[in-house]
Structures are given as structure tokens and as C-alpha cells.
């Protein structure tokens, strides 16, 4: 009986203790770097060495830098294109293979493999497959008299879009396919009895029920594609010129190839500000269901 209050206080602390490792990690690896980033943005930083205070000069430098805006625009265009393509084909595959795959579940493994492979290796695999010296695809095309350079100035963007498409359509497919499995068969049957045909069933029953998962997978694909680094870095290194430089590649190159940390830090703060929009959407819609009403 005597040690009961003590035990209670132990209980009280235990819930904090459960969270301490996590909060500590977040504080050190997320919160501190963010604050540090903002602090550094007001200084002249070269190769990681803080030199002197320079006010908002860095911000102005980035705002007038053409490369920054070009890479933001490229990221935006790239992510919108691949998201639309991947959602469309993911939906198509999910609906087409719905019945076939639920009978042969193991086949899904081969549908999903591309998205589990390291993205940077996907980039190198495309290089191996498409380069004009030993690439198997251009060589076979050449046999048919077709000369295509997939990594030329003209061909490089479609190639990058295709690489992203190959890797991430399996993801949108998986999300939409899983949602499709949760639609009860009785709904289809009821609609059929009422005399609805297949397009009607799809438009009025299946599509509305799939909309939440289509929304979430487009959102996830968009934010992931916007920050793409690996595939494009491996395949083109951001070139030719700055043509395929995404914002992630821009920041990486500014810091670790040119040593211009100020530029990189300020660009990443601008990127953070832009990222607040999807963050807000994510907070508002994606987690809504899990909150306690």
C-alpha cells in the first residue's frame, strides 16, 4: 500500500518514456536542422563554413536566379505529367485485372516488382538499355532501320517520364486495386438486377467508391515526383544543360558540386514554403478519417 503513489507516478512517466526516443530523434534530426537552415540562410556560407552575416541578400539572389525557377517549373511539369499518366494507367490496369488477379494473387508480385527496385538502379538500367552504344532497345530498332536517340535533347524528357511511369504505375495500380477489392460483390449484383450495364456500373458505382484512393495516390505520386532525385540524377544528371534539373537536383548541385551552401539553403527554404501547401492538404484530408470525433 505504501508504494502505491510511487507506482502511480511511474505509470505517469511511462507514457512520456514511450515517446522520448521518437521525440528526441525528431528534435535532433528534423527540428534542429530546420531551425539551423533558417539561421544559416542569413549568412554567407561556403562549403559548410559560415562566414558573415548578409541579411536577406541570399534570398534576393535565389529569387533572381533563373536556374531556381526553371528547376521548380520542370519539377512541377514533370510531376503533373507523370501523376496523370500513372493514375490513368493504374486505374486501367486495376479495373481490367480485378477479377483475374483475385484468382491468381501471386501474379501481383510481378506487377509490383518495378516499384521495389532502388530508383537509382532503375535510372542506370534505363541507361544500360537505351544508350546508343550498347543499348539493347536502340540496337533492335536499328535492325528495323529506326534511328532513335532516347537520351538526346529531344528524347530525354519522354524517356524520364517513361522511366518514372514504369517504376510507379505499379504503386497507383496497387492502391486502386486494393480499394477495388473492398467493394462488396453484392453492390454489382444489385446494380445488374436493376438492369445497369457495365459502363453504368463503372461510372455510377465503382468510380465514386474509388475516388478517395485515386485522390490519395495522386497526391502521394505528385509530392514524390516533385522531389524526384534518384532516377533523373542517374539517367541524365540534370542535363543536357539544366533541361532536366529538378528542384532536388538543383539544391544538391548548388551545395555539393558548386559549394554554394547559401544558395542551396535558401532554395530549400523556398521549397519548404511551397511544400506547406501539400502539407496542409495532407493534414486536412488524408488524416481526417483517423481523428477522433
Amino acid at each position: 500500500m505504501v508504494n502505491k503513489p510511487q507506482k502511480k507516478s511511474l505509470e505517469f512517466f511511462s507514457k512520456y518514456i514511450l515517446l522520448i526516443p521518437l521525440l528526441l530523434l525528431i528534435a535532433i534530426m528534423i527540428v534542429y536542422p530546420l531551425i539551423r537552415n533558417i539561421y544559416m540562410s542569413f549568412f554567407d556560407v561556403k562549403w559548410g563554413k559560415i562566414q558573415e552575416f548578409c541579411g536577406i541578400k541570399n534570398y534576393l539572389n535565389v529569387l533572381i536566379d533563373q536556374g531556381f525557377w526553371e528547376s521548380m517549373l520542370f519539377s512541377l511539369k514533370f510531376s503533373i505529367t507523370v501523376t496523370l499518366l500513372e493514375i490513368f494507367f493504374g486505374l486501367l490496369l486495376a479495373v481490367y485485372f480485378d477479377k483475374f488477379l483475385s484468382r491468381n494473387q501471386w501474379i501481383i508480385a510481378f506487377f509490383l516488382l518495378p516499384m521495389l527496385v532502388p530508383p537509382v538502379l532503375t535510372g542506370i538500367m534505363f541507361k544500360l538499355m537505351l544508350n546508343s552504344f550498347v543499348g539493347i532497345v536502340p540496337q533492335y530498332l536499328q535492325l528495323f532501320g529506326v534511328n532513335l536517340n532516347f537520351l538526346s535533347v529531344k528524347g530525354v524528357i519522354p524517356t524520364l517520364i517513361f522511366a518514372d511511369f514504369i517504376q510507379w504505375t505499379p504503386f497507383t495500380f496497387l492502391i486502386i486495386y486494393s480499394a477495388l477489392q473492398t467493394i462488396p460483390i453484392s453492390l454489382y449484383e444489385a446494380a445488374k438486377i436493376d438492369g445497369a450495364n457495365s459502363p453504368q456500373i463503372f461510372n455510377n458505382i465503382v468510380l465514386p467508391l474509388l475516388l478517395p484512393s485515386i485522390g490519395i495516390s495522386s497526391f502521394l505520386r505528385f509530392i514524390e515526383a516533385f522531389r524526384t532525385f534518384d532516377v533523373i540524377y542517374a539517367l541524365t544528371g540534370g542535363g543536357p544543360g539544366n533541361k532536366t534539373t529538378t528542384i532536388s537536383i538543383y539544391i544538391y548541385k548548388a551545395a555539393f558540386e558548386r559549394g554554394n551552401f547559401s544558395q542551396a539553403v535558401v532554395s530549400s527554404i523556398f521549397l519548404l514554403i511551397f511544400a506547406l501547401i501539400p502539407l496542409y492538404i495532407s493534414m486536412k484530408f488524408i488524416l481526417r478519417g483517423s481523428e477522433y470525433e
Binding site: L22, M29, W106, L121, V265, L271, A275, I281
Partner: protein
């Protein structure tokens, strides 16, 4: 009646053909890389090309796995590094996130602010943290260490792990814990003896998913390592220079680098699908 059956038979064959076609298209880079890795150098460079290796050889695998000491690219070391980093990250992420998820879900502590903030972290591009973490790691001597990369990858995977763990904990029956609590068990012993054994599928899901994510990680592997902690993803990109584009060796290295992905999707498909869909769809 018979005609209907043959129609069905043909419809089935068409589905199988389309399925195989789609699988081949989507996996074509992987298939052609694996094919290349077994070709001799001369057959890689000849025209007209052949898709399948004519005289299969293991020379590229031997070259990659047993490099001569003079080479600067030490593939076996990268392989070991990646294994250690991925395993370490899986364990650390589970250790950090499982108790926290329990606190969020059952004690309802931090569920209102900390939990949503953490889960939505993945809407933020990681490159934002690259520079401050690089400078921070330099200061505390974590550059080029396996532990440094484990720590970083753990943070990267926290949102996913928490989402999956809390999803599983929500589905646990309340009665078990209530019974344990009435018997006077402390939070820790409930976690250890009641929750932990029931969470084995969740732990497997998170462990496998985090392993794959960490194995696939590239950006921070490149920024935060110089030589000793280079993961396989970064190591393979260095091949181009070291062997003046020896495509056979690169193909062999890639084929080794994707082995974990292939093993997990073949033998742990259910866990992966569960984890990936839970990570995306929060009902």
C-alpha cells in the same frame, strides 16, 4: 453450350497474353539488365544484338564480387554496408516507433498534434534537410559512418512506421489490455507481454518495408558517406568511372543490388502489400 466454353477458353488465353505482355513491359529494364549481366563483353558490344546471352558467363559476377585490390570500387564492402544499414534501420525504427505508436493510440497521448505532424512529414521533400544534416554530421563526426546513415534512414521512415503500427494497434481487442491492467500490469509489461506478441505481423510489415526503403535510399547515402559507409546504390553509380563503363559489370552489380527486392516481393508479398496500402490509404 460447347461454343460458350470455347469462347471462355479464348477469353482466358487473351487475358493471360495481355498479362504477360504488361509484366514484360514493366519489368523489361530488369529482365534486360539480368540478361546483359550474363553476356560476355564481346557479345554486349556486337551488332546485331541478341537479347538472350549466347554463351552465358559468370565473369562479371566474379569481377564484381571479387574485385582486384587495386580497384577503388569495393563492391563487397558496399553490399555489406547496405545490409548493415538496412538491418540497423529496421531494428531502430521498430524500437523507436512501436512504443510511441502505442502511446498515441492507446494512451491517447500526443495523438492530436504530434501524431499528425509526424505522419505528414512525408509531404516535405527530404532534400531540405540535406545541408543542415550534412553540416551537423560533420560537426559530430558522423559523416561516413554506418550509424549516421542508420539514424537518418530511421527518421526518414518514421512516418510510414507510425502509420502502420497505429493502424495495427487500432485493430487490437481492448479486452486483453483491460484484463492485464486489472491484474495490475504496468504499461511496460503490457507492452512487453501483451502488445508485442500480438504485433508480430505489424513488426514484420514495418521491418520488411523499412529494409527495402533503406536499401533503396540514394541521396543521403551519397551526401553523408565518403568511402567507409557507402551503400550499394551509391557504389554502383561509381562504377561508370572506375571501369570506364564496363556495362557487363554494372549489369551484374545491379542484378545483385535488386536481389532483396525480388526476394521480398516473392516471399513476403502479403506483408509488403499490407504495408504499402496502409501507408497510402488511411481509413
Amino acid at each position: 453450350m460447347k461454343r460458350k466454353q470455347t469462347n471462355k477458353y479464348f477469353a482466358n488465353i487473351i487475358v493471360i497474353i495481355i498479362t504477360s505482355l504488361i509484366i514484360i513491359i514493366f519489368n523489361f529494364p530488369i529482365i534486360s539488365t539480368i540478361m546483359t549481366s550474363f553476356k560476355t563483353n564481346s557479345s554486349i558490344n556486337t551488332f546485331p544484338p541478341s537479347f538472350f546471352p549466347k554463351e552465358p558467363t559468370l565473369e562479371h559476377y566474379l569481377k564484381v564480387l571479387y574485385p582486384s585490390t587495386s580497384l577503388s570500387v569495393k563492391f563487397p564492402r558496399y553490399l555489406l554496408n547496405s545490409c548493415l544499414i538496412a538491418l540497423g534501420t529496421s531494428f531502430l525504427t521498430i524500437f523507436v516507433c512501436l512504443p510511441a505508436s502505442y502511446a498515441f493510440e492507446k494512451i491517447r497521448f500526443g495523438k492530436k498534434i504530434i501524431f499528425p505532424a509526424l505522419v505528414n512529414l512525408r509531404a516535405i521533400p527530404l532534400v531540405i534537410f540535406a545541408i543542415p544534416i550534412y553540416i551537423f554530421y560533420q560537426k559530430i563526426n558522423l559523416i561516413d559512418t554506418i550509424f549516421g546513415l542508420i539514424l537518418l534512414n530511421c527518421v526518414v521512415n518514421i512516418p510510414l512506421a507510425i502509420l502502420i503500427f497505429t493502424g495495427f494497434i487500432q485493430d487490437l481487442p481492448e479486452e486483453l489490455e483491460d484484463a492485464a491492467r486489472i491484474d495490475g500490469a504496468s504499461t511496460f509489461s503490457i507492452l512487453r507481454y501483451v502488445i508485442f506478441p500480438l504485433m508480430k505481423p505489424a513488426i514484420a510489415t514495418v521491418g520488411i518495408l523499412v529494409f527495402i526503403m533503406t536499401w533503396n535510399e540514394f541521396l543521403f547515402g551519397m551526401i553523408l558517406s565518403v568511402e567507409k559507409s557507402l551503400p550499394i546504390t551509391v557504389g554502383i553509380t561509381m562504377f561508370a568511372g572506375a571501369w570506364s563503363i564496363d556495362w557487363g559489370a554494372i549489369a551484374a552489380a545491379i542484378s545483385i543490388g535488386i536481389i532483396p527486392s525480388i526476394i521480398f516481393i516473392l516471399f513476403a508479398r502479403k506483408f509488403l502489400i499490407k504495408g504499402l496500402t496502409m501507408g497510402a490509404v488511411k481509413e
